[in-house]
Structures are given as C-alpha cells and as structure tokens.
Amino acid sequence: MLILYVLTALLLGFSLLANPRKTKHALRVALRRFMKITPAFVVMLVLVAVILYLLPEHLMVRVLARESRWVAVASALGLGSVSIIPGFIAFPLCGILLDRGAQYMVLSAFSTTLMMVGVATFPLEKTYLGTTLALWRNGASFAIAVAVAIATGLFFGELW
C-alpha cells in the first residue's frame, strides 16, 4: 500500500515539475472519471456490505470443509462468485479451510471465482463494459474456474 502512495506522489511530483498545466488537466480527468463512476461504486458497496453479513466466515468454513466433494466444489464456486473478500483475508481463510480438511480443488474453485467472478462488482463492471459483455466475461471466468478446479483435483489426486 505504501508503494502505491510513494509511486503516486513521485509521479505527480515529476509531472508537476515537467508541466504544471498538463498536471492540472490530469487531476481534472481523474476527478471527472471518479465522479462519473461513484454511483456504481455506492451500489457495489451496499451489495458487498449485505453479502458479507449474510455469508460470514464461519459459515463458509462449515460449507467448504464438507465431506461430499462435489457439493463442496459447487458451493465453493457459488460462494466465491457472490462474495468479495480481499486477498489478505481470503488466503488465510483458505489456509484455515485446508487445516479443516478442505480439498485443494475446493480451495482453487473458491479462490478463482472469488477473484475473477464478481456478482457484487457487477453494477460497476456493467458501467464500464456494458451489460452483455460483463455477463459474458463473468460467465467465461466462471467456466475457467471450473476447469481450474478440475485440473487442481487431477494434479493433487483428489478426483479418484
């Protein structure tokens, strides 16, 4: 996170030195783009807040560390798609799941959909890509997650 601040400050500084007018213009572009997208962000935040409440961690652990592997994989795909969890929480969570006996293919289904398929970010994605394309991209990502999960199962010998 610090790197991001330092990088932004440095670049902004250089830009100011090189051409104050262009820099002012850049900041205006930044603000305008930000304002344009704020409504979609608000909707996304509301969705995230509600989803996060409905799907607390202990529920996820209980569902994903289940015996029945296909039920677990299917729920991992579903849970991963609807929830938004930052990586620094998601992977420790996966670590916990692993200790509780969750299979690698379940974890791979979960982490891949978590990062690539976004139901909660959909309002935002729709604004940037258009509804149809956003749907297609999420669909493709979901299919990829299924493929990755199966491949993981294959490599870790969990399929048989």
Binding site: F41, V46, A49, L52, T112, Y128, G130, L133
Partner: protein, 187 residues
Amino acid sequence: MKMLKQNPMVIGVGAVFSAFVLVSLLTGFEPGKAIGWNFLSFFTQMLKVLPCVFILIGLFDVWVKTETVEKHLGHDSGPLSYLWAVLLAGTTVGGLHVALPIAHALYTKRAKLGVVLAFLSAAGVCRVPMALFEASFLGWRFTCIRFAISLPLVILTSAGLAYYFEQRGYRLPDIEATGQRGRKNES
C-alpha cells in the same frame, strides 16, 4: 448534481440503505448495525486506494501517447500484447473495482478489446502480492497449477469474446471521453 438525477436507482438504493442502517442504529437492530459497519470498513478501504488509482489514471491519460498504447496493445499488435496485459495485471492492486477503471483507460487509448478483457481477468488471477500470499498459505504447487491452467484460458476466452463482440461492431460504453478529445481542449 446532474449525476444523481441520471441515476434514480442509485438514489433509491442509497436512501433505502442509509434509512435501514440509521433505523438499525436507533433501535439497536444488530444485523443492520453489522451491515452498516461492513459498509463503512469497505468504504474506508476504497478511500485508501482509489484516489491514488484515479490520479495515476489521470496522469496516464495526459502523458502516455495514444499511439504508444495502440502500437503495443492495439489492433495491429501481435500476440505479445497479451503478455503485456498479463504482466500489467500482475502489478495492479485491489480487485476488479481497481482493474476496471484502468482497463477502461487503456481502451480509450485504443488498446484492443481482447487485451482489455485479458487484463481484467488476469488482474484477478495473478497479482504479484496476492500470488505470494496465496503460495505461502496453500503452497507453490497449488499456485503454479492455478496459474498454468487459468492464464492460457483467460487469454483464449478474452481473445474469443473480443473477436465475437468486435465482429458486431461493439464498443465499450463511453464513460467519459478523455480530456484530449473533450470539449475543453487544452492549449
């Protein structure tokens, strides 16, 4: 606030949500309070990252020439462009909500749709800090398999989708015409 008038749904959602949280606070309704807290914590997380992201996008918009982006990521660029997309995605932070504005900025600089889509999905798969984290919790073998399978598929599906959509003359929605082409032309 013209922006708000154009988004009645947002006003609705926002109003209902804030009313719900407010009433929950007053009546001590626990789920409502928890949801309110979730909102606040995500909101502050966004505030920590997004201003930087948008400033960087603004600088990118002003300083990087369209021709440069077009040459490396545009329609006449080779398969290497997908490699750039994946590498670029590796350096991003946050999630889709950060990758989306960047992807759109690339598109307005005439990067081709396939590259933009590959960048978006790859940003979900292979951000460097996240990969390190993943590997430390789940092992390198897990991470390598995940990358090896998903990245080629990401590139394939992105190129395929882009082909399908561009055949039909699809263009991304114009969020905001970039400054240079806008009405208020500098200089």
